[in-house]
């Protein structure tokens, strides 16, 4: 028996209906037939699935950023406090885990999150641009600032992540005498140069904007958003963005103003 089909729009070019691979009648329903690809394949090949990967990897990074920001605030309690914290990061999980194992585990998860997030962002963005090839002649302002800056903001963040690791993890581009496990002095050296201040502050503002749209957006992607919860989700996104921005920016500002020296 034929299913009831409601024709929604005018089929002005019926020839296209018979184009191979386009008409659903000629394509086996992947969900109904046994030809369904694996879960991983069907998630990665779908726009919703790829967005889910972005949401989950984004939330993992967001969780890390909150912990990272709190850790940074230890600089306000003096060199012993933050240097000891740096040491603890390497011994956490002991004696079950060996020295630095837990830290490496975190690093592996973060690298996976960054790569998955960036690859999905790139592929989805390419698709989005292709889906809207012609622009409107009549221009008008669209969407909020945080929403419109997700792609550029993301690229700024990707570049910053590389710079930040070369600066304060490996010491490759560090402006001072980089000393492993002495973050207090390393941080002061970094923020004693004007360009480091500029780089870090720009990146932190980019994080704030990215999280502002990203947190709320991830909730929608994961199906947690609804009309009732919308206010709470938006407020949480704004609070997270504000707290992260202020928390991170307080360190370079403190060094610049001599509060920490």
């Amino acid at each position: 028996m034929a299913p009831t089909v409601i024709s929604m729009a005018l089929a002005t070019r019926p020839d296209k209906d018979t184009a191979p691979g386009k008409a659903p009648g000629k394509r086996p329903s992947p969900a109904r037939s046994g030809m369904r690809p694996s879960l991983v394949r069907s998630v990665w090949d779908s726009t919703i699935g790829k967005k889910t990967v972005m949401a989950v990897s984004g939330l993992i990074m967001l969780g890390y950023l909150v912990a990272h920001m709190i850790g940074n605030l230890k600089i306000f309690f003096g060199p012993e406090d933050i240097n000891e914290y740096a040491h603890w990061l390497r011994t956490m999980g002991e004696p079950v885990l060996h020295y630095e194992w837990a830290l490496w585990l975190v690093r592996i998860v973060l690298v996976a999150a960054v790569v998955l997030h960036a690859v999905s962002a790139y592929q989805l963005s390419r698709r989005d641009i292709k889906a809207r090839p012609a622009k409107y002649v009549h221009k008008r302002k669209r969407a909020s600032y945080a929403t419109r800056t997700m792609r550029w903001g993301g690229i700024i963040l990707a570049l910053f992540i590389v710079w930040h690791l070369l600066d304060l993890t490996t010491g490759t581009v560090h402006p001072g005498e980089f000393e492993h496990l002495h973050p207090y002095q390393n941080i002061i050296d970094t923020f004693s140069t004007w360009y480091s201040n500029v780089i870090y502050i720009v990146a932190v503002v980019a994080v704030g904007l990215h999280v502002r749209h990203g947190f709320w957006s991830a909730a929608q992607t994961l199906g947690a958003g609804n009309a009732r919860r919308d206010k709470v989700l938006k407020a949480t996104a704004n609070a997270l963005a504000l707290v992260l921005t202020l928390g991170f920016v307080s360190v370079p500002v403190a060094v610049m103003t001599g509060v920490v020296s």
């Binding site: 002005t12 329903s29 969900a31 641009i129 889906a131 090839p133 008008r140 749209h213 909730a219 199906g223």
Partner: protein, 249 residues
């Protein structure tokens, strides 16, 4: 009212198009936007020129045929369809830009007419119930809780005009597809095919070359029927649930 119109003219799908400028006079503020275009077309026909092609049918805001981007907004400045937009929303002497829906999945056929059969194919992929319907059943035969009925009805209001796709910077059909999925998935009649429906319709949506959703909210702002943005989150939830269920089978 006297108006200057800048209208997208394109001979056929393969031709290059451009904006053409026309002056129209004697427009009443009570005319609909489409009646204003009728006036222009009558003048063009008298002059022996090709009239502007645009889609329209019911002219009462229920069929979803009309589809104009007016001054950059899908269906123009009011939350309604182009056919229900009246000239009182404009000022005497205004210049108005009129363009077709823009999306790779909605190619221009001629002037302001685009091919929206991609929407039909999304519906054909699962936007129905596989059951003999016959005559209307007794209304209380299948009880539906009031909140579910309201939710279904809110989404059933979608007329499939495509304003959501036209307004979306990514040419995404997520709002349309979510309206159709949510409408049927919440009802007892639609629930046996709940998983296959959402998976197949989203699959077809992707196959048509629509973009992904970046939650800009432009679609819900443009929708003449007020399909809300959280509909997309509701469909995402259905899709994730269906993925888990089908994987377990």
């Amino acid at each position: 009212m006297k108006l200057t119109l800048r209208v997208w003219r394109q001979k056929n799908a393969g031709a290059d198009g451009a904006m053409s400028t026309y002056e129209v006079d004697g427009i009443s503020p009570d005319m609909s936007f489409l009646e204003m275009l009728d006036t222009l077309n009558e003048e063009l026909i008298v002059k022996g020129e090709d009239p502007v092609a645009f889609d329209h049918d019911c002219r009462e805001g229920i069929c979803g045929a009309c589809s104009l981007v007016i001054n950059g907004d899908a269906h123009g400045p009011e939350r309604t369809t182009s056919c229900q937009l009246h000239m009182r929303s404009f000022q005497d002497g205004d210049t108005i830009d009129v363009e077709p829906w823009r999306a790779a999945a909605f190619p221009v056929v001629k002037d302001l007419v685009v091919d929206r059969s991609a929407f039909d194919r999304i519906i054909q992929a699962g936007g129905y119930i596989t059951a003999p319907t016959g005559a209307a059943p007794e209304a209380h035969a299948t009880p539906v809780p009031k909140p579910d009925a309201d939710f279904a009805f809110e989404h059933a209001e979608c007329i499939g005009c495509g304003a959501c796709v036209a307004a979306c910077p990514n040419g995404s059909a997520m709002l349309f597809t979510s309206a159709k999925v949510n409408h049927l998935n919440v009802l007892p009649q639609g629930s046996p095919e709940r998983e296959t429906r959402v998976l197949d319709m989203v699959d077809q949506m992707d196959a048509e070359g629509f973009g992904g959703c970046t939650l800009t909210g432009e679609c819900a702002t443009a929708c003449p029927k007020g399909i809300p943005l959280p509909s997309i989150a509701a469909m995402n939830k259905e899709w994730l649930r269906a993925q888990r269920r089908v994987a377990r089978r």
